[in-house]
């Protein structure tokens, strides 16, 4: 257990040599390698930090760009909304104008339809009225009807003397030939009255042909040349109808159509 100087000195030298050898062969290379790796890592970290800063800057720029895009989007939306409102107002105005014009057109159409309908109703009423009136006259007072129609024909002959004379003269001035048509075969008295009136009108005694046409319903019709004097019930009713429908010729057309 004694302290041995030789061993102590040798051990001192031994350990210091070992320390020196390990320092030279192991520790220093390891330290250098670790230091180099740390520097490499530090450089890499610095590079990454620079990249990170660049990315953060880029991110900031992107964020700013996004903000600008958001503002632009809001502005575009605002302008689009305003344009849409204006367009909507314009379309609504056009639609209102179209609706007003269409309403006016429909109202005019309805008015014309109403007028046509009124004319049609009136024509129908007149037609039916004249038919009924004619039928009633024929049924209730046939003799008075015939007498009135006969008297009317005679008056018409008197009223158309000039025309009748011209018509006869165009025939060549020969003995006038006239045709007297009745709903029933005209009687002698009626033939006589007509002949006398016609003679008075043209200044010569005409040759009068008599025949029957039940389409006349009642009364007489006189034809001299191209001149016709209608004193029949059918002719009178037809004249009344024409007179009644003179106020609505379009309605007449539509009613006929």
């Amino acid at each position: 257990m004694n302290l041995e100087p030789t061993t102590l000195v040798f051990e001192l030298v031994n350990f210091l040599v070992l320390l020196w050898v390990l320092q030279r062969l192991v520790y220093r290379p390891l330290h250098q390698a670790i230091h180099a790796r740390r520097e490499e890592l530090a450089e890499e970290r610095a590079g990454l930090q620079a990249q990170r800063e660049a990315l953060e800057k880029e991110q900031t720029e992107l964020d700013e760009g996004l903000d600008r895009l958001d503002e632009l989007q809001a502005q575009v939306r605002r302008e689009a909304t305003e344009a849409a409102v204006k367009e909507r107002a314009r379309i609504l105005e056009g639609a209102r104008e179209d609706a007003a014009s269409e309403r006016a057109r429909v109202q005019a159409l309805l008015a014309s339809e109403r007028k046509a309908t009124e004319a049609w109703v009136r024509s129908v009423a007149v037609e039916r009225g004249t038919e009924v009136a004619g039928a009633l006259l024929k049924k209730l007072a046939p003799e008075a009807l015939d007498a009135a129609l006969e008297r009317g024909l005679v008056q018409a002959i008197d009223a158309h003397q000039e025309q009748l004379r011209h018509s006869w003269e165009r025939e060549g001035g020969e003995l006038p030939e006239a045709e007297l048509v009745g709903a029933t075969l005209p009687g002698d008295r009626a033939v006589k009255k007509v002949r006398e009136a016609l003679t008075g009108a043209v200044g010569a005694r005409p040759r009068l042909h008599v025949r029957e046409d039940d389409r006349l319903e009642a009364g007489l019709l006189l034809r001299l040349g191209d001149h016709v004097l209608d004193g029949s019930l059918a002719g009178q009713l037809e004249a009344f109808r024409a007179l009644a429908e003179e106020g609505a010729p379009e309605a007449k057309k539509q009613a006929d159509g």
């Binding site: 520790y27 390891l30 670790i34």
Partner: protein, 243 residues
């Protein structure tokens, strides 16, 4: 027992006496240097050494508050040499160098001078002023404290290793072959702990010398142990464990 359990003289060359522990110590040094040189030549072992070196270096730097970078190779070499010296005694017919007081004293002297060289390099001549604090009358006591600390370092390692081998030998003699096995496992643990303690104490003594001069209050200058706020707090516990 003296011839069996203390250093044996193998050769005498005039005044020089070569003991078996010195031979084993030299062999261990050659082995460690050779292994280190070989390991550095291959990528795998080299990477393992890099990781181990970096880990141990970081732990050494974290133990003390001062920059202990220059002490790292010394502490690592102390750990490696003392650990291998402690464990080599488990081999048959091989003497553990650390059961030789001359070798542990040599290691303690290296620790002592390394601490003072480190402190001197850190502080210059101003370092020596701490021997005069808190007053010049404390100079002898401070020197005695330094020497006793170094002596304790040597005796602690020597005593622990020698006592472990003695107990194993006694039990082997008394109880046969199987009973010493648990004690040998305990010796492995003791070997690791003693190597760690020796290196850590070397580091802590050196660092505490710098720390004392640099910033401690006058009342703590003469203290042998590091201040409680120092990172070397485990020192008393470790010494207690070692004792």
């Amino acid at each position: 027992m003296n011839g069996d359990y203390f250093a044996r003289d193998l050769l005498e060359l005039g005044p020089l006496t070569i003991t078996d522990t010195l031979v084993v110590s030299l062999a261990l040094s050659v082995l460690l240097a050779g292994l280190g040189a070989i390991a550095m030549r291959f990528p795998g072992p080299r990477e393992v050494l890099e990781v181990a070196y970096e880990t141990l270096e970081r732990s050494v730097r974290e133990m003390v508050a001062v920059d202990a970078g220059p002490l790292v190779p010394l502490v690592l070499t102390l750990w490696a040499f003392i650990l291998s010296a402690n464990l080599v005694g488990l081999l048959p017919l091989v003497s553990s160098p650390t059961r030789d007081l001359s070798i542990t004293t040599a290691l303690a002297l290296i620790s002592f001078f390394a601490g003072h060289v480190f402190a001197f390099r850190q502080q210059g001549w101003r370092y020596l002023k701490h021997y005069l604090k808190p007053n010049p009358l404390m100079l002898p006591f401070n020197i005695i404290g330094e020497l006793s600390r170094t002596l304790a370092l040597a005796l602690r390692l020597f005593g622990n290793i020698l006592s472990g081998e003695l107990i194993a030998a006694i039990l082997l003699y008394v109880a046969g072959l199987l009973l010493p096995v648990p004690l040998m496992l305990l010796s492995v643990l003791t070997a690791v702990v003693q190597a760690y303690i020796f290196g850590v104490l070397t580091l802590v003594f050196a660092a505490s010398s710098v720390h004392v001069v640099a910033g401690s209050p006058p009342g703590e200058d003469g203290g042998e142990e590091p201040p409680p706020s120092s990172p070397a707090n485990p020192t008393p516990t470790l010494e207690g464990t070692a004792s």
